[in-house]
């Protein structure tokens, strides 16, 4: 996957670039709007991550130019502004997303992958499988090593989200947003408590643990530690 990163803050650019490389992306970095536009128009990218405040050419104009040239590469907008700009809202289509600085890298990665999935129209599977854990979305049933595990609806949603993001770390904020549909996190660690319950049911009786805590970042569901 080729990814274009247009970001003038070099430190941010560096950690985003490194993180995305580790996640398997081929990253090109442009430090200003003009370079970014040139790259976007000449190279075929699968996705672009664009900061709004850029020298020479601002991010919005860049995206508008790209769209004018009939290039429908999905774009993830980065901005330090908290309130969503009207123009961004007007721009925001199925192939665009918006992320506010400061952001968690895990969230950036999740959104990038979601945008790519959307643009490549991957059909949603009816079954999710990680190691010997299997979740059936139609029947809403969960099996581990062939044995059915009974989950409450909320626990099911949480496990479904973890399995969909299998191998990728998801933050508490992302869990709150996707599982509870809350756009904020309470002070109390309500997610931690919920994960504990889930662990009791999924991992407790098995030697290989699937749900792992990445301290300070979030949780990940994967086969190996």
């Amino acid at each position: 996957m080729r990814l274009l990163l247009v970001e003038d803050d070099l430190k941010i650019a560096q950690f985003v670039e490194n993180g995305l490389r580790e996640a398997g992306f081929a990253v090109d970095h442009a430090a200003d709007g003009e370079d970014g536009l040139h790259l976007a128009l000449t190279e075929p990218y699968d996705i672009a991550v664009v900061d709004l405040m850029l020298p020479k050419l601002d991010g919005l104009t860049l995206i508008e130019e790209v769209r004018k040239n009939n290039i429908n590469t999905p774009v993830l907008i980065l901005s330090a502004k908290r309130s969503v700009d009207d123009r961004v809202m007007g721009l925001k289509t199925g192939s665009d997303d918006y992320l506010v600085k400061p952001f968690a890298f895990s969230e950036l990665l999740a959104r990038v992958q979601a945008l790519i999935r959307r643009s490549t129209h991957v059909t949603a599977p009816s079954e999710l499988t990680v190691a010997d854990l299997m979740l059936n979305l139609d029947k809403r049933k969960v099996f581990r090593a062939g044995k059915e595990i009974f989950l409450q609806p909320l626990e099911f949603s949480l496990l479904e989200y973890l399995m969909r993001s299998a191998g990728r770390v998801v933050s508490k904020t992302m869990i709150m947003e996707h599982v509870w549909d809350y756009n904020f996190s309470p002070q109390t660690n309500v997610v931690e408590a919920r994960i504990c319950y889930l662990r009791d049911k999924i991992d407790k009786d098995f030697d290989i643990k699937l749900i792992h805590t990445v301290r300070g970042v979030g949780y990940v569901l994967k086969e190996t530690a």
Partner: protein, 466 residues
């Protein structure tokens, strides 16, 4: 320089009031004088006319009794008693032949025919006129009367005396008006100054305050009630500003404290890990702590912005229809593991359904915040009860806990930003939760009420007009 001073003067209230007062006074006096003058003139003329008509009437009666021969000496007698320069008598027939006349050389000719013509047209026997004679500077009041067949008597009296008399009045009034203008200007100036001198004091105080003396206040004891009210209002405004300044200062101190502390921790942790080689786990620990501190800082900043935006009415309210009971159940469900871990009974007393049209996201956050607080401040084996009901046109959501309660001293301040009942700040949280609750509730047209008793618990109520 002079022009600017003049301009300043023109725009000064003192000057304007004085001029206004003087002009108003003078105009009123002038109108009064004009009316008075006109009345005197009219009365004088009436008296003169009455005298003249009375004379001609007398001669008309004599003419009837004694004929022309009897009248003529009577007129001559009458005329002899007067000064021919002041009065004239002239008797003639209709053709204009003079039958008797005093010395008309002081006066000049009279156009008798046109007078007779006019009398005939009007159908009267007496005509009173004010005539300017060729030989004289003053005017004269004349009467032309038909006193018998073919006999016209004309009597004239000089108006010199009347004019002199009225002139005296005019002079007197002129002097009076000039002195009135002067006096009214002075009185106006004094009155205006008395009013503005108190205002000046208010201005001076304001100036002192703008120079930094925030504790200065205006002397309320003024001569006039209006100025007193101005002073009192001004002082009230100053009190309010000062209390706002104080609370802002407090908020600033708190922000400084609450932002500096995590920053200090981040910096300290990073520095410590650089001072000595450490194990990979220790470095990981540092990174974890850094992220946690950063997240709490970001959370605090975002919440502060959320509060400010809600208070200022930015990012308007997004209303939608939703099931409130479901929203509350979800929030309770969110905290159930925490409550269970603390052995707190989390109970709900909710109706089957409560459909509301409001901002769902905001409501979610309000409910979650209050619930979180209730659980946080309730000890083990306590209970938190959430109830909701719609009645009497209002929607009421209540959160009752059996927690530590809030002291009377703290109660009025709990919705203030960064206010924490616990001064030592040992409990987690930054003291923004309830501020956000209040700002959000008010932004969706609701009110927050709270009752509390130490060691017995608190009861928060959200009330929305439906």
């Amino acid at each position: 320089m002079f022009l600017r001073k003049l301009h300043d003067l023109k725009n000064s209230l003192l000057f304007r009031l004085t001029i206004l007062y003087a002009v108003a006074f003078t105009v009123l006096a002038a109108i009064g004088f004009l009316i008075f003058y006109y009345r005197i003139y009219a009365v004088t003329m009436e008296r003169l006319d009455f005298e003249l008509l009375e004379k001609t009437g007398r001669f008309t009666a004599l003419m009837k009794d004694a004929g022309l021969e009897g009248v003529r000496p009577a007129i001559a007698d009458e005329a002899a008693s007067e000064d021919p320069q002041e009065d004239f008598y002239r008797l003639s027939n209709f053709k204009g032949d003079v039958l008797f006349s005093t010395d008309m050389s002081f006066w000049g000719s009279i156009d008798q025919q046109s007078q007779l013509q006019k009398m005939q047209n009007d159908g009267v026997t007496d005509l009173i006129q004010t005539i300017k004679f060729a030989e004289r500077a003053d005017k004269a009041r004349t009467v032309t009367s038909i006193i018998g067949p073919d006999s016209v008597l004309q009597i004239g009296e000089s108006l010199e005396e009347v004019d002199e008399y009225l002139d005296i009045f005019l002079q007197l009034f002129s002097i009076l008006i000039v002195s009135l203008i002067l006096v009214s200007t002075i009185i106006g100036w004094l009155l205006a100054r008395r009013a503005t001198i108190d205002m000046q004091e208010v201005t001076e105080t304001a100036e002192e305050i703008s120079n930094g003396a925030y504790d200065r206040r205006v002397q309320i004891k003024a001569r006039y009630r209006e100025i007193e009210r101005l002073g009192a209002t001004f002082n009230r405004m100053l009190d309010r500003i000062q209390s706002l300044l104080n609370s802002m200062k407090e908020i600033n101190d708190n922000i400084a404290h609450d932002l500096r502390s995590p920053l200090a921790r981040i910096r300290g942790i990073a520095e410590m890990s650089l001072l000595k080689e450490k194990s990979v786990d220790a470095y990981k620990e540092m990174a974890v702590s850094t992220i946690e501190e950063c997240d709490s800082l970001i959370g605090m900043i975002n919440t502060m912005l959320d509060i400010t935006e809600a208070e200022a009415g930015f990012n308007g309210v997004e209303t939608e229809k939703f099931e409130l009971v479901e929203l509350i159940r979800e929030a309770c469900e969110l905290f159930r593991p925490i409550a269970e871990a603390k052995k707190i009974h989390l109970r709900t007393d909710l109706p089957e359904s409560l459909t509301v049209t409001s901002d769902r996201k905001k409501m979610q956050r309000i409910v979650t915040n209050i619930l979180e607080n209730a659980i946080k401040y309730t000890p083990a084996d306590g209970a938190v009860t959430v109830s909701a009901a719609a009645q009497n046109g209002e929607l009421r959501i209540e959160f009752a806990d059996t927690g530590t309660g809030i002291s009377e001293n703290d109660l009025p301040h709990i919705f203030e930003r960064f206010y924490r009942c616990d001064r030592s700040r040992s409990q987690g949280g930054v003291g923004l939760g309830l501020s956000l609750v209040k700002a959000y509730t008010e932004s969706i047209n609701g009110t927050v009420h709270v009752e509390s008793a130490i060691n017995q618990g608190s009861r928060f109520a959200l009330v929305f007009e439906s």
